[in-house]
Each structure stands twice: as C-alpha cells, then as structure tokens.
C-alpha cells in the first residue's frame, strides 16, 4: 500500500480501456495530423489562389468564369476549398473548445460551426462545378 502521504486517487479504468478510449481527447492524433496535412496543402494552394486573383482584378464575370472553368483551375479550386474548410473547421473547433466551458453551449457552438462550415464549403463547391460545367 502507498504511504498515507500519497494523494489517494482512484481511477476506475483499466489500461486497456484507456488505450481503447484514446484518452480524454477521444480521437488520438487524428485532429492534430489533419490540421498539419491541410496546412501543408494550403501553402502552395493559397499562394496559387492569391496570384491567380491578381489576373482577375477588374475583369468581367465572363473572364472569371472562363478562368474557373479550366480543368486545372477547377481542380485546384476544389482542392483549395476542401483543404481550406477542413483546416478552418479544425481551428474554429479548438477555439470553441478552449473558450466555451459549459457543455450545452459548447455543443451548440460546435454544431453551429460545423453547419456553417459545411454550407460555406458546399456553396463554394457548387459554384466551382457550375462554372466548370455551364460557364
């Protein structure tokens, strides 16, 4: 037995249970890795996007549509959208988890953020596909 000066803390959970449950974070390193992978993808993609925009300043809608309709451009735009909104949700999620302490408001904020992110991402995807297929 431990001596009486040791804090008595009973954790009623087996080692196997802790390993299976992946601890308090519940998802292991998936969140961390996904944030890094999307960050790496966004380095070239965001540079490409900003440089591309320079050529479209003041251009009529038809020119923007023609630009977005190219297969390479449409592919890169979709890649940017997927990586961007995935990266964005991971960041917003952590901020909500850090600052909204009460459980119910936290879950509500997380769901609202997920819904808003999904709708924004889908709207962007639909816009690119519409430009790619119909101009």
């Amino acid at each position: 037995m431990a001596d009486s000066k040791t804090p008595q803390v009973v954790i009623m959970r087996s080692m196997l249970g802790r390993a299976r449950g992946l601890g308090a974070a519940k998802s292991g390193t998936q969140h961390w890795k996904s944030q890094r992978v999307t960050a790496i993808a966004l380095i070239p993609l965001s540079l490409w996007f900003v440089v591309s925009i320079f050529g479209l300043i003041g251009a009529p809608r038809a020119a923007v549509a023609a630009w977005a309709a190219g297969p390479v451009t449409a592919t890169l735009l979709l890649a940017t959208i997927v990586a961007l909104f995935q990266h964005m949700y991971l960041g917003v999620q952590v901020v909500i988890e850090d600052y909204v302490h009460a459980e119910r408001p936290r879950v509500a904020w997380l769901l609202a953020a997920k819904g808003a992110t999904a709708l924004l991402a889908l709207a962007a995807v639909v816009a690119v596909l519409k430009l790619a297929f119909t101009g």
Binding site: I11, S46, V50, V64, A65, A68, V92, V95, A123
Partner: protein, 143 residues
C-alpha cells in the same frame, strides 16, 4: 472528487497536506513576449480568415450566378469597406501563412532554441509586412 480529471489537480503542500493545485497565472499576469504574442495573433488571424471565407464564397457564388450578382459582389469588394476588409484579410492571410510555416518547422523539431524562436517570430512580423505591402503594390499595378 466529482470528476476523475480532478485527480490531476491534486497536489501536496510541503507539510504533506492534500490540496488542489493552483492554476498557473493567466495571460494578463505575464509580460507580453514575441513568442506569446505571435501565438495569440496566429489564433486571432485564423478566426479573421474564417470570417473572410464568407466574402470569398460570396465572390465565387456570384461569379457562378449572374452578371448582376457578380456586379454587386465586386461593387462591395471595391467599396471602401470591402477594400478595408481585403487589406485586413491579406495581412491576416500572410501572417497566418508565415507563422503557420514557423509552426510546421516546430512540428518537425526545428527552431525551439529561445534565440531562434524569438528571431523567427520577428521574421514572421517582417514577412507579413513585406508580403502585405507587396500584394497591394501588385494589386494597384494589375488594376
């Protein structure tokens, strides 16, 4: 002890009494340093960029919708408030871009020495200013 996580907050004073561990002082106690300020600003610019995606999606959706919708979107972007948002957005983007690369370097195990971390922090600040100014010079050249 209501929550098992409280177990980690149990400590012992020098005379052996069990106590709840004190929490570390919060932000306002510490003197701001380049490493802490760059960390806080990284999060703030991330949130600003998230808000900025609304403007980006509006522009993209308007381009896909109609000439009138695109005219409205570009009118807003070209207005003084739209330009102000764009200046903030580009500055936030370049900051998050530069400091994000700094974070990735840390993730790969580089640059943890304090002088290096301080220097890279100031490099991020300098990089943000240079890239933002360069972006807007190019905007006015391209226009």
């Amino acid at each position: 002890m209501a929550d098992v996580r409280d177990a980690l907050m149990v400590g012992r004073t020098s005379d052996g009494k069990l106590v709840r561990r004190p929490l570390s002082p919060h932000l306002q106690i510490y003197k701001p340093q380049i490493v802490t300020v760059t960390s806080v600003v990284h999060r703030a610019t991330g949130m600003a960029l998230a808000a900025g995606t609304v403007l980006m999606v509006w522009w993209l959706a308007a381009a896909a919708a109609s000439d009138a919708a695109y005219a409205t979107a570009t009118w807003f972007i070209g207005s003084w408030i739209g330009m102000l948002m764009l200046v903030g957005w580009t500055a936030a983007l370049w900051y998050h871009f530069c400091n994000g690369i700094r974070h990735l370097a840390w993730d790969f195990g580089y640059g943890f020495e304090l002088p290096t971390a301080h220097a890279s922090g100031w490099a991020v600040v300098a990089g943000t200013v240079v890239l933002t100014v360069l972006t807007w010079i190019l905007v006015f050249v391209a226009r």
